[in-house]
Amino acid sequence: MPKQKGALTATVAAALLGLGGTVQAQAQGIEVRLSGQVNRALMHVDDGAERDSFNVDNSNSSTRFRFNADGPAGAGRRAGILFEVQFQSNPSGAVTFADRSIDGQLTERHMDVFLTGGFGTVRLGQGDGAANGASEVDLSGTSLAHYSASPDIGGAFRYRTGGALSGTSIGDSISNQDFASRYDRLLYQTPSFNGFIGEVSWGHKEDDIVELALRYSGKIGALGTLAGAVGYSNIFLSEDAPVGTTDDKVIGGSISWLHPSGFNLTFAHTARDLPGRDGKFDYLKAGYKFGRHAVSIDYGQGQDQAASGDEAKVYGIGYVYTPIAWAEIFALLKQHSLDRSGASFDDIQFFMVGSRIKF
């Protein structure tokens, strides 16, 4: 790996030096764009022993703003930057009964430079890994309310057993295991071949990460629109990792179909190498879009994630209304449950209603 790192770093440096010269020569015709959104909701939670309401930032699509710019870089190429940060006060995936108020923090999402052209796109910096989102492809129009990453709403709440809080949270037991998310990486994306795009990335958080993905999105005549992705990630654990731990590998994907009538189906599956077991995740959503409305029901199941033999489930119904193009109103009702041999956990219910406004 160290030799690969050296060669890769040299290649990237050479490419950026070359790019620097080109951009300097043609530093005109630059377009700079600033955009963002605010996404707030009221969330009510009942864990079987305690219930309360929360004023949250919807982590399904957090409050954030973006600054991006690009310009011609010669020979039909464009170069630019993407800078995006989020600012969440009371993130819906982090609040608990014990911690109802969490101060807003500016956290990174994207900070990268890119070069795009007939060869595809190369990105360098903080941003999506190649497989990020590959288990979250969803054409239902209700992702604001619910999607495969169910812990984004209430993920920090812990199950109760015998009235006492257990050590297992919703997020521990039913993650969609969406690969390595965002990190500092070098990413290459191929051009589109009949709707297919391949991606590969290499980078690191604490440990080195390699990801691969194949994505598709297209209209299939009278059958409507189909989108999907398959991905693979491997986080190479460092040499000082505890004995018995393994590299963190995830494989899986998702597919979503939207019929012209508005009926839609979404499915996701991932499997993750965990010490002594495979953590599995399955997700199914059926929905209907009509006019400015979208409604759906979903079912998710996590197996062996928090502990061997665990089976966590989520059932939900979500609704999104788009009265005007820059505003959406959403509602969600869902229930989480956890089955574990030798223990009995209370279900946790959520009701959430809120609005996202793009500014």
Binding site: R33, N194, G221, I324, F359
Partner: protein
Amino acid sequence: MRAALLMICSVLAGCAAEPVPYHSQNEISRGPGLLTGAEGAFVFRTGDAAPRESAAPRNAEEEREYQEWRDSKRRQESESSAK
């Protein structure tokens, strides 16, 4: 599983499917904005930069939303000018 995946990919690549960009609803939408209007962003252009396709809606639904928003805006403007 792999065979099924390969078959699906081959069929999609070989048939007359029309590629369309996928845009996650969990990201900032590509439509208009409350303050930024039809562009959906505060845009600064230097030199000979022309408005780019990226400012426009990318799929049928966003196109419909954009047209509805534009029509309502025109109605509001014509109503206010009539007064």
